[in-house]
Structure formats: C-alpha cells, structure tokens
Symmetry: C2
Subunit: 74 residues, 2 copies
C-alpha cells in the first residue's frame, strides 16, 4: 500500500532548499517519494508518498531540521 499526502512548506527559495527538505523527508520511516513544486519565497506544496500515514509532528520536525516551516493545515 502507498499513501500520498500533500503538505505545505514555506520559506524555500531555490533548488538547494528543495533538496534539503526532500532529503530530510526521505529520511522518515516508510517514505518512498517526495515531490516539491517550488514557489520561491512562498508556500510550496510538498507531496510525500509513504507506506502508511505519517505522524504530522515527525513531518514538521523534518521540515524544521532542513530549516523551513510546515504551514498548518487549514
């Protein structure tokens, strides 16, 4: 089974930022794919494919570790 969830991350400005966030999210258990549509300096959609539902706090911590902010779900 695989599940794709879309998160929103703010503060990324370039491909290096995208790479940093991708790397941190790929380190989470069960994550198989990360796709980011960069909106430079704005809110970028981040799609994460995983084997099972991810803990939102773990996702937030990974994004923080990369140096960016997870935008609260509306």
């Amino acid at each position: 089974m695989s599940l794709t969830t879309t998160y929103t991350v703010s503060g990324m400005t370039c491909g290096h930022c995208v790479g940093a966030v991708t790397e941190e999210l790929q380190n989470l258990d069960g994550v198989s794919e990360v796709t980011i549509d960069l909106v430079a300096g704005g809110d970028s959609p981040v799609r994460v494919t995983s084997e099972s539902e991810l803990d939102r706090e773990a996702v937030r911590a990974a994004v923080d570790e990369a140096g960016y902010q997870l935008v609260p779900a509306r």
Copy 2:
C-alpha cells in the same frame, strides 16, 4: 601578499546558494577567503581574497559551475 577583489554575482537566493558559490571560488588556486553579502534574487557583492590577481574568466567559470552568473564589471 594578499589581494581582495570584489565581484558581483546574480541569481543567489539563499544561504545554500552562497555556500555553493563560496565552495567553487575556494577551489581556485591561491584563494584564501570568500565573503558574500547575499542580496536575495539580486546582485550580491562577493569579496575574494587571493595570493595574486585572479583570472576573471576562471572566476566566471567557478560562478557558472555553482549555477550563477558573474555580473560584468562596469
């Protein structure tokens, strides 16, 4: 002897970009220090300290390699 020259580089948007340009310039022979004042998305001054005068084409190639553009001197 050491000489400090200021170049202008465009296209950098974040600290990762600064790191990439710094790394490429530090690889040039004789370069001892690189200091960049990031102007995100604009023209950033890049100060390079070296033992002797650098070849501008070598500097341009290093900046290109990092993925950015050396702005022509006015």
